[in-house]
């Protein structure tokens, strides 16, 4: 008798779980405005990528052409496949001290797997992930980029 009751209960429990699953898909079906598909080439002008999307590594600059990179090279060390090369140079500060600053932050987009390790490792937050995703070019050399803009300098007050 006990097993018979269990059998009956299992039938209704099974039906209930099926209905729960069908409720989820029904919610998806009857809320078509939540669909995630992007009609890409048509909505190119309005398409906004998500905040967490990783398109490429970029170095944000302020309007005074200042960035946060100290040229420490931690991102270069952390890069698993050598997509980053840091070329630094020495300058004399106004106080007459020798100081190492960034000359060129070279980034090979063609080799990058967008793993985000460099961004996580950067002590000053100088590099971030950008949302641009249209990277197709005709020449592979165009994928090698210099992230710091020409003539840019490090912002004031960045701790080294």
């Amino acid at each position: 008798m006990k097993s018979f009751i269990e059998y009956i209960v299992s039938v209704f429990k099974g039906l209930w779980t099926l209905l729960v699953g069908m409720k989820v898909t029904a919610k998806y079906f009857f809320t078509p405005w939540n669909h995630v598909t992007q009609q890409y080439p048509e909505n190119r002008d309005t398409l906004v990528m998500f905040e967490r999307f990783r398109g490429e590594v970029i170095m944000p600059h302020t309007e005074n052409n200042e960035h946060l990179c100290t040229g420490c090279g931690i991102c270069e060390i952390n890069c698993p496949n050598g997509s980053i090369e840091i070329i630094s140079k020495s300058i004399l500060t106004p106080e007459g001290k020798k100081k190492r600053i960034i000359d060129q932050h070279i980034y090979h987009l063609g080799m990058c797997t967008l793993c985000n390790l460099c961004v996580k490792a950067c002590p000053t937050g100088a590099i971030v992930m950008g949302q641009k995703f249209e990277h197709a070019v005709w020449d592979r050399a165009l994928l090698t980029k210099v992230l710091n803009q020409p003539g840019s300098k490090i912002a004031e007050g960045v701790k080294e």
Partner: protein
């Protein structure tokens, strides 16, 4: 030519009279056969294309996607383009396949589907033949298709095909029981196996309402078993893309593959149409006992619209099953049938007999 959207008997009768006047009886009958055949062929091809499109759209909506959108407006021409592609593809045959069986298998599958579709009443007068053992004939014919599937799997000389075909055989043989028994429950209630009588019997209330609890149980069982009969997900073990490449039609290409594909969707239509006819009243409009004005408004909608509305509703439910539930294992499929559906069905048939005997129905 008299044409009435509510009753096609006048139209078919006038065609018959017109042909009989101008031709000898033999020629007239032959022409009628050809007309009926071509009509069914056209209907099946067009409805099959529509169903493939609908399936892709419905599936997409269940997965929060859009589905085909590029070919034609909203992708409406997508399936036509796919079909043309399939027609133009090369027919490849494995060297060690059984030539005769390999080539005849798709025809067996599709002929079984066509034989089943012939019995369905689309509207008053729109039924190619109507005889007193309609449901018996339907269950008999719809299980012929499995022979085609078994032959296809065997003759392809491919292990995946064979496994898929054997799974399909085990599955359809098991679920045929539930389909037949749930239909039998309704036959007990209707007191007839003839489709026209069954539809006529639902003039006052559809059987799913007038038969209340046992009819609803039979309807649910029929939907589950019918989904399994058509080899659709979650019972698509016979194809099981992730395990068996494509199951029994792995080695088929081009038109022969298209035939299997089409047969699958015709079977979906047949199962839905039978569910709509036996449980939801077929082409009969929705009537409620004494609400005269309501019944009158419902009568205004043509029977064809009612029939296809119900069929599309059932098709939607079956698609909903497919895109919600994960595929069952072989042992789960057999457990579901032999330990759950079959005993419930047998008890349900008793219950229905009691309901009919005590006249405890509407």
């Amino acid at each position: 030519m008299a044409f009435n959207i509510y009753d096609f008997t006048t139209l078919t009768h006038s065609i018959h009279v017109g042909l009989a006047e101008s031709f000898s009886p033999v020629v007239a009958t032959t022409i009628e056969w050809i007309i009926v055949g071509v009509t069914y062929l056209l209907f099946v091809a067009l409805f099959g294309l529509f169903l493939v499109y609908a399936e892709r759209k419905v599936c997409a909506a269940f997965q929060q996607r859009l589905g085909p959108m590029r070919v034609g407006p909203w992708g409406l021409l997508q399936t036509i383009a796919d079909f043309i592609k399939l027609l133009m593809k090369e027919l490849i045959m494995p060297r060690k396949a059984d030539w005769f069986l390999y080539n005849i298998a798709p025809f067996i599958v599709i002929i079984a589907s066509f034989m089943a579709i012939a019995i369905l009443p689309f509207a008053p007068g729109l039924q190619s033949f109507d005889f007193d053992i309609g449901i018996f004939y339907l269950t008999a014919v719809s299980s012929v298709g499995v022979i085609g599937i078994l032959i296809a799997g065997w003759s392809s000389n491919n292990k995946y095909s064979l496994i898929g075909a054997m799974r399909s055989g085990a599955q359809i043989l098991s679920y045929e029981l539930s389909v037949s028994l749930s239909l039998l429950t309704m036959v007990v209630f209707a007191g007839s196996m003839q489709f026209s009588t069954i539809v006529e019997g639902q003039r006052d209330a559809w059987y799913i309402f007038s038969g209340h609890i046992p009819a609803m149980i039979a309807f649910i069982i029929f939907l589950i078993a019918g989904t399994a009969e058509t080899n659709r997900g979650p019972f698509d073990l016979a194809e099981a893309e992730s395990e068996l490449v494509a199951g029994f039609h792995t080695e088929y290409s081009g038109v022969k593959f298209a035939m299997f594909f089409l047969a699958e969707y015709i079977n979906l239509f047949i199962i839905s149409a039978v569910a709509a006819t036996v449980f939801l009243g077929g082409w009969m409009p929705l009537h409620f006992g004494n609400l005269e004005s309501f019944n009158h408004v419902m009568d205004f909608i043509p029977p064809v619209v009612w029939f296809f509305g119900k069929v599309l509703f059932v098709i939607f439910i079956i698609m909903w099953f497919k895109w919600t539930f994960p595929r069952l294992r072989v042992d789960q499929i057999l457990t579901l049938e032999w330990k759950y559906l079959l005993p419930i069905n047998l008890v349900n048939i008793l219950l229905m007999a009691l309901v009919v005997l005590t006249k405890f129905h509407f």
